[in-house]
Subunit: 233 residues, 2 copies
DNA sequence: GAAACGCATTAGGTACGATGAATACAAGAG
DNA sequence: CTCTTGTATTCATCGTACCTAATGCGTTTC
């Protein structure tokens, strides 16, 4: 999205990465760097840089006399933003979306509880602002506007939790929410119940009610999971 | 741990990575590839490979005419196993350990609930075996043996959840648990209550009692958090 | 004072040669 | 016939030299 193919090696990655994560090369497949270099019409140096990056993502393993072998899916670093994007763009998008939504359902309630304890006044203000924005755009086919506020809302919650690991999941949530409105079938207007929950959550965080914030977020993420069950078996 | 400095660029990473994550180079610092290549006595090609990897970890940004600039901590990919290891080895180890433990407290209960639903008979057997091993090594200064079984136990839970994102956190949990016994002050013998909880959790998963499994895991992770509060203010 | 320009600087890219390590395979010893 | 040992192949790995491209910054120009 943001990281376009910056540099030649980036361009190579944007083709090789999705191909590997899509399973075009089954685990154990061997790729040779010079062959790849020829195929992508780049120098070996550039290809080596690309391979190094793929290696750091645990997608491949480079060994002498053997070549670049594709690692089994279970070893991939599925938390790498690049890998997440590639997989979301590929064939097993539904599967990936479910994994991420389950992850959300685990993280966000705890994050909301922490946010209720640690959120600054400014963050509380941001939160209510986002919630109001969601209310304002919840009717009349303003899906794009709603999405912006929804993403911003969850970003603030995750950041306000004070946990860097949680905060870093903002992009993932953004990707999931964005995917819901763009790729998948989205109801014409968001569920009014969900909007209400967000407003209440902003309240709970403002009042420092951690238990309520956690419970409300559980309802929100449960809704997201339910939504997913309706779309995919 | 496993990824020793394989290759020259790996060796460079093992020095530069920890230095950056330790904050030796404040955000915005500029490093020039030529200078680095000289310092580490490697060729530019090798240094460029190292920079590419650091770039893919969002630790640095490489721009023409400027150099390699260190990114602010908030942009680092804190889920990268390498980055986690580097930070755990560095100065802000306590902070990192807390973040990871909070992450555990969010993930593992949900994972345990899913495991109760999806665990195979074989995984249930492994679980009880691990629990028995924990019981057997819970007394008499057998900390190393206890650790092995503890790590294995949580690995099985995470894997049995059926969620690939959860399964991938096995290494993180292993690192946290290992750190507790090795680096930090560990009571001579593990808390008997914790051992009992693990046994009960294995039961709950075997019986498919998701709610109980989740509740028990919450108690376990709450204990881990409490333990951390005792050690660090 | 602001906009346009040119230069120095630094990453980016290519090509080619040399090195080294792991594997496959063959030859030898028991 | 089996196990060990030696050898050749093959691929990644590393280094060097040279060129290109972009861009920050100082200078000039209007």
């Amino acid at each position: 999205m943001t990281t376009g193919g910056r540099g030649l090696h980036g361009h190579v990655l944007e083709t090789l990465g999705p191909a590997i994560t899509a399973g075009d090369y089954p685990p154990g497949s061997v790729l040779r760097t010079d062959e790849l270099a020829q195929r992508f019409e780049v120098s070996r140096s550039v290809m080596r840089e690309a391979v190094r990056v793929l290696e750091s993502m645990y997608l491949v393993e480079s060994r002498r006399r053997v070549g670049v072998t594709v690692r089994p899916k279970s070893e991939w670093n599925v938390y790498d933003p690049q890998v997440i994007r590639w997989r979301l763009a590929g064939a097993d998008r539904p599967h990936q979306l479910r994994s991420l939504t389950v992850l959300r359902s685990a993280i966000e309630p705890v994050a909301a509880g922490l946010a209720a304890r640690h959120a600054t006044a400014e963050q509380c203000a941001e939160l209510t602002e986002c919630a109001l924005g969601m209310v304002a755009t919840s009717r009349g086919h303003q899906l794009e506007g709603y999405l912006v506020h929804d993403v911003a809302f969850h970003r603030v919650i995750l950041k306000a939790s004070g946990n860097e690991m949680f905060a870093r999941l903002g992009d993932v949530v953004a990707e999931v929410l964005s995917g819901r409105t763009h790729h998948d079938v989205m109801f014409e207007d968001p569920d009014p119940a969900a909007v209400t929950l967000h407003v209440q959550l902003a309240e709970a965080v403002r009042e420092g009610d951690a238990a309520r914030a956690e419970r409300l977020t559980r309802e929100i993420t449960a809704g997201a999971l339910q939504e997913l069950d309706v779309l995919a078996p």
